[in-house]
Subunit: 354 residues, 2 copies
């Protein structure tokens, strides 16, 4: 974790946007820019200084995790500590993360900062844009998480059998990941069998899995703060003709996307590679979500890779490629890999069989 | 879950505050008022109608979970669907949850609603205040979660032994709860041994637990959406004199609070009952957090029970009572029960030995 390099990148952005300072409140951004993993606190970053405000619970932790920052201990109400926090910095303005700061918090910030002559300026996705391009060390951690989820899918191929409920399969997978290197899973394991597989966000239930039906399994592991995201659609016993036909279309769409996505491409063009194949096969309205999404510290982050995305895909970005076809009353198929853009092309990190 | 009764209570509040409509965006409030458990959507509630807007992923789920609501399917950008959503309701104003809606979302809402002649009005804790007083059915679910965490602490008293790491103990507890009726745990299990026990929010580490030192274990289970919160401070092997002395002070403070808190009391007065005992024993600055917090759908909700709380404690409220003493370099002791106010007095739900 190269905090000083990250701060340098942020300061370049601040300078380009002619902003004097930014208040970072979003927890993952706070961690990314400081190394501090506690649940509460603010970073204040100017051209030549960086401060971290947090309360007594985290004072010792900040000293260990964020030595690059000047520590400020929060005591009492914001109207008390905030003026002291910004004192001496000569601020005329302060950017704030408008997608994180609630209207209530904004109102309180404004009430305190306006009388001090400090103007609040909303920013969108500034730190998120920097986070989207991963450092080699971050990719290595994501690869660790990918390996854990790959192993968990391999495990469940033999551990699952008809007669188990979705919840039993989900817990078997979660337990496996936790006992093979994962921290608390970044999202609840999805196991959707039979008709439930038609719902992309189905929550595992007491539904008893039968042989021959599609089972969408969507899982993520987390290692040293970084996550993976993996979906495989399994079938216990012999798959019928319908399953094989749908599966082949989704797989073809995914392989085409993984082959043809290149650096510099816009998110919606990447999405279109897979979508065209699914549309042409006659399932235009059965692929109701985007092709993928960035991941890293969290399971959904920049870039977006869907039909409305204008994000430019760049080397170092890590994201998912996950086309799907969902047929109400029958079920669904989704196949998802975690990939990284390197040297202009996609390298697929997920090694799980398809 | 009596949705119509909850809506009636909300409408009484709207009427008292002379508000025409409220947009509910906070996920737990959305669930509480509708029964819809999906991850995205808005409720719009007026004096005589209730609407639920969500996207294609959740349309089927809404039909099953929230039959009392008129379903509206979100398609495309907010500027497209929001005007249609509010059409025909004759709104001049719309309250919104200012502690949930981000500044960015507020700006977009305003941009769309202002031209329609609809004024946005921030509200604070409106639904949260209603949620604070539990229905009998909610208390029954909390009691189920309490029983699971009680059993997990009982289990770990025999399963833990010197030489295990904090992480191993934490996972043993989590696994036990998951395999004995708990959904995904509402917060990561805290196991803080030796000096780590001095940190109220310590994350379990590779620290190897030794005999004779304090081990603060803070856990919660979740059953049918409702949570419990329980802390016990254990000691493997023989406790020394220091441990027993600190433990007795904390226990005395907790028992006094549980005996003396009555309905109608203000949060800070409830806090003071325990705090006075700890202060008098000479540890005034070693109890650095509030006495407790409400819980229900989430592990921190109204009422607040700390030194700055003005919340009035009422029958039906469920909250924690958790005094602690934390001594840097040595460790700490915290003892926490989940309790409910009934017939003017506290009934302790947690049955775990102290």
């Amino acid at each position: 974790m190269n905090i000083s390099k990250r701060l340098q990148t942020l300061r370049t952005t601040l300078s380009e946007k002619k902003l004097q300072a930014v208040l970072v409140s979003q927890p993952d951004n706070r961690y990314y820019l400081s190394g501090f993993s506690g649940s509460a606190g603010y970073l204040l970053i100017t051209a030549d200084s960086q401060l971290l405000a947090t309360d007594f619970r985290y004072v010792e932790q900040v000293k260990q995790q964020a030595p690059d920052y000047r520590l400020f201990e929060i005591k009492g109400d914001m109207s008390k500590w905030l003026p002291e926090f910004v004192a001496g910095l000569g601020l005329k303005e302060m950017a704030f993360e408008a997608e994180d700061v609630t209207f209530d918090k904004y109102s309180r910030l404004k009430e305190i900062l306006s009388p001090l002559g400090i103007e609040l300026k909303p920013i969108i996705s500034m730190v998120e844009t920097i986070r989207a391009v991963k450092e080699p060390g971050e990719i290595a951690l994501i690869e660790r998480a990918v390996a854990v989820s790959d192993a968990a899918i391999e495990h469940i191929r033999t551990a699952a059998h008809p007669g188990m409920t979705e919840l039993e399969v989900a817990w078997e997978i979660e337990k496996y990941m936790r006992e093979h290197g994962s921290q608390a899973v970044p999202f609840e394991v999805i196991v959707a069998a039979g008709r439930n597989a038609a719902l992309p966000h189905h929550q595992p239930s007491d539904y008893v899995i039968r042989a021959g039906e599609p089972i969408v399994i969507d899982i993520g592991a987390k290692c040293a703060g970084y996550v993976s995201d993996l979906t495989r659609t399994l079938c216990l016993g012999k798959a019928d003709e319908q399953f094989r036909r749908i599966y082949d279309i989704v797989l073809k769409a995914q392989m085409a996307a993984e082959e043809k996505i290149v650096s510099g491409m816009i998110g919606h063009d990447a999405d279109a590679i897979a979508r065209t194949i699914i549309d042409t096969a006659g399932y235009a309205d059965k692929f109701g979500h985007g092709l993928g999404h960035g991941l890293g510290l969290v399971v959904h982050e920049a870039p977006r890779v869907g039909s409305s995305s204008k994000d430019i895909l760049a080397n170092g970005m890590v994201f998912t490629v996950e086309p799907g076809i969902y047929l109400p009353e029958w079920g669904g198929v989704r196949i998802e890999d975690t990939v990284v853009l390197e040297h202009g092309k996609i390298r697929v990190l997920s090694a799980s069989r398809k």
